[in-house]
Subunit: 686 residues, 2 copies
Amino acid sequence: MVRWMLSEAEGYDFLKKYDVPVPEYFIINSPEDAAKAAEKIGFPVVMKIVSPQIIHKSDAGGVIVNVKTAEDAKSAYTKILTNVKACKPQAEIEGVIVESMAKPGVELIIGGKIDPTFGKIVTFGIGGTMVELVKDVTMRVLPVNEEDVRSMVREIKSYKLIAGYREEKPKDEETLVKSILNVCRAFEENDDLIEFDINPLRLYEKGGVAVDTVFIFSDDEKKNDTEIPQVDISIFDPQAIAVIGASETPGKMGYAVMHKLATFPGNKYPINPNRDSVLGFKAYPSVLNVPGPVDMAVITVPSKSVPAMVEECGKKGVRIAVIITAGFKEMNEAGRRLEQETVAIAKKYGVRIVGPNCLGLISPHKGYDTTYVQRSPKPGNIAFLSQSGAIVNAVVDWSLTNNIGFSAVVSVGNQSDLTFLDYLRWAESDPHTEAIIMYIEEINHGVEFLEDVSRVAKVKPVVAIKSGSSARGRAAAASHTGSLAGSYEVYMEAFREAGVLSVTNLNDAFLAAAYLSHPKHYPKGKRAVVVTNAGGFAVLSNDYAERYGVEMIDLPKNVVEEMDEFLPPFWNKGNPIDLLGDADGERFAKTMNVLEKYDDLWDICIVIGFPNLVLSSEHFAEQIMTLSRSTEKRIMAVLIGGHEMDGGREILRANGLHPFDELETAYRILGRTLQSKFRVKGQGLF
Amino acid sequence: MVRWMLSEAEGYDFLKKYDVPVPEYFIINSPEDAAKAAEKIGFPVVMKIVSPQIIHKSDAGGVIVNVKTAEDAKSAYTKILTNVKACKPQAEIEGVIVESMAKPGVELIIGGKIDPTFGKIVTFGIGGTMVELVKDVTMRVLPVNEEDVRSMVREIKSYKLIAGYREEKPKDEETLVKSILNVCRAFEENDDLIEFDINPLRLYEKGGVAVDTVFIFSDDEKKNDTEIPQVDISIFDPQAIAVIGASETPGKMGYAVMHKLATFPGNKYPINPNRDSVLGFKAYPSVLNVPGPVDMAVITVPSKSVPAMVEECGKKGVRIAVIITAGFKEMNEAGRRLEQETVAIAKKYGVRIVGPNCLGLISPHKGYDTTYVQRSPKPGNIAFLSQSGAIVNAVVDWSLTNNIGFSAVVSVGNQSDLTFLDYLRWAESDPHTEAIIMYIEEINHGVEFLEDVSRVAKVKPVVAIKSGSSARGRAAAASHTGSLAGSYEVYMEAFREAGVLSVTNLNDAFLAAAYLSHPKHYPKGKRAVVVTNAGGFAVLSNDYAERYGVEMIDLPKNVVEEMDEFLPPFWNKGNPIDLLGDADGERFAKTMNVLEKYDDLWDICIVIGFPNLVLSSEHFAEQIMTLSRSTEKRIMAVLIGGHEMDGGREILRANGLHPFDELETAYRILGRTLQSKFRVKGQGLF
């Protein structure tokens, strides 16, 4: 593998080819040519040594700025050569570059690098020496279009430096947008370009110029995007399951799994060479001895025996092997080789592998559970895909307490064969699944995953928790550009582009999935109106709305007047609409009518209630459902309190409108939803 | 009220008196004096018009910079006068100021203003034209000491501009610290100074100089800090309670309150001129007719009758009147006057007032509840003080579902007489109270409150939710300096200085209070070690720790070696310590032993468990309690999952170690705890 960097002149030439403005320059080799070049360019000029051995030109005395006359240019040439020869006598000197001296302007950075998961990404932000201090950058995964680039430019915090600020006139945003687009095109068209930094690009009221550039190329073999085979999702609907390593000893994995599968409605075959039966089912010494067909095998034998068992599965015509056993690549190098061997055997026979080192699959609607969770989850409409077995255990137990059901639970394990991509496709075509949650530590085929998840997220909400955001967790991966665009940030951006809703914890994931599994799915915009009978929660609503990027509309005069008709004279006449603690059902109903009538003003209506003597939670919930049914817009119900609010919560849940019981959480989830759809910003969103 | 601003020269003189470095200057009135002054100062100099009528000197052509010779100084004088006379013929000209031209340096801002709640505050941060763009400022409530100022300087994000950055040498931090301290002293010593901005103060490798200053003075009558009377907390322990407006009509306030007080163990007297008895208790036409003494009166009659009722209470010798009735200053101007009248009458008789416009008081240990919440809360060790009645309703109902008890619940209402300050003093001396939660919209006597709460927080953890953080909620209060140091930020800083733990929602408030009510209260430092058997939660722990400013220690070699003795060979040898999914009680016990032995390495140990077949939640909890008992350091238990973990949770709760059931929440609360004690920073803390 060879890597090379463009010289300054080569960098300028490269950008010029892509219509990005660069300084005029000449490379010369004599004092006279220096003067001529400078005159041609126009004063002042900058002169710099050109030598592949000299990286830090200033340190070697190889840079003279602000050269103002032809005479000065001549003497600058001589001085540069003298300095450099004294400082670096061995350096090979190709000449001196004379270039126009760019006047001061807003200093911006355009960078590019290849993310190991998602490929080419471009970053944009405040450049110059402030870049590390201010860290005001944004990024996109390529490809991008003009609209993407415009949104990038506008979403940096310091955008006012470009749009105009104090007495400063606006800068040439069109030139900037065109330059970024052209740089992106250059990145896409040059397969061997692996990293670059244009820092600064100086932007003026008219035009701009790329002053300093680094371009790194590599002849590294590009990963040949091997076609990922489409998984045949019928393998997740087995008629017969064999448990290889089935046992009657409680505490053994083979016992727990067999115990769980006892209720599977299809055929089940314990495989154990030492027993005639296990838990009442006839046992066979090998899967090859099973008389009928076997679709799925669950393997719990020690790791060293796994390849042989997969070989037998292959011979038997098993379509999917769930390898629970640990001790593969997650343990050591020998384990990694054992895993490769296992996958190779499976591939030979066309057996697909779940795991190894996993809990396997649960399909409550089809009645199988290959895991050793203590109690199986209930059927429902959420598919949960997890890269952590402990999290599957915790979530399943939690779901039973919180009355959440699943269409599928998958512990993906080492993803030696089947990956998130395949399970996502399963969830996509599964008719029971209304929303998908993923706990992700690492995605293998990022580009294909994004393509798929973008498609899925359009029809079924996809919620993701990506772990590994901490510097501590990924210190090893740090690099110069990495410090600005670490891999967690790339994940977040890629997910946003794909329409995946990112959250940071499991509770939020389930609340978001439950809320978005409503047939209306996502709100169509970010404008919110709030109705409550609780003054304190109205005040907090403003705080949370700002923190999580929810836009609170102002009530137009005519709407206020219409509400004046039936609200007490001292109502707050604003949004949140505070109906006051003595608000009864009628006051709510009339308010809901007005909101329905003016539902073009808002995209989301947040209704907040608390236990009180005037309005029962059931009546409150019915008011909410009436509004929800009468508009295409989305309603969010927040019922704060204890058991007094349970009646109302149940009514809402039964109608598919999952309520929230904590106000900040409701706003945080709404904010993240809007962030994933409309790129809203808020201090509390990250 | 008269306000005045110092001229540039007066500002310099003022700062000079306080030993803050300023440019040398002269005010002159002739070209010759200009030249002389410039020569005395040394070139280059800046020359500016001095005229009280000219605020924007540059716009009037009144500024010439970089004057390099005596001749130039003369002509600059003439030019300035010509420009100004042409532009502002009416302006009164006092002369031209000639001052040394400060060389470029790091541009900083020191500002001061008077916060309406907490008084004098000082801000420090990045100055110059970047100030609004970067918004990198910090603040303190006066008085401050040298240590405070040092921490201010070091906590701005751009501190490396001062400490040295890239090739830049460190700047003169000592001069900076001394200057800020001196400015603070000036602010404290000058009662009529109400606002100032030194922007920029230019800081160099050696020394610095205040280049541009604004000082605003006012002869405004200073609020004469009227002594706040110490509340006699025995008023909260009544022997006899009268309900003025007691009723037998369900739905009426006077019914709900009387109904609630029926179980009060002391005497209770319904007051109702139209009935002989209410709910079986003998009724009296007036409180004056009650035969025995009355300590407390609860008033539910319409607002216009309230002053007369308070008058009767006064005559009867009632010590505390809880005015539930609304319709006072929260409604309109007439209500405000009615409230003043009521307070004046009460003062005359020495009756203290709770409310009006409130739910009143609940003291579960003393057996009274003046509110109309649906069910009274249980006795416990948390005092909850709330500025929202709806929030009291929601919290009390929630507490019953979540098995939380209270030592006191107070709905403070309009705080016409008794305020947060008084209720805080009650909670302080109440032996049942172990932790205090406040929901605050506004504090009346900020300075006294801070003094009191600082004292209380040293012995009983105080947790606060302050609403009104949103720009929308406080748009009206915005001002130039206000945009940098809005009142919410001042509250947060004041709370931090007082040792109050700030959270943003009620759930967090209760979790924090419950956790901190343990006899060990706060952790003694910010170093954390994490133990878990759940790999996924170990990964998330790193993320959350970074997000919430929790410092994860590195395990020293000898500790790793000691743990190698009993952990599986492929354990992660790091922190979080991942004991793996098959970790049994013994593995935990041995690990806990090592952690106990090396408890000088850490201040907090977070133990995370999930439902699994190897270790029951009860055994897990016992391991945690063993560690907690064997060390002075604080333990945090996180039991993730559903009912399978309830057994362990109960054991921990019974031992005063309140468990968490969601990992991010646990870290967030720990982060906020450490923020309030050690000023830790994290993206997720605000």
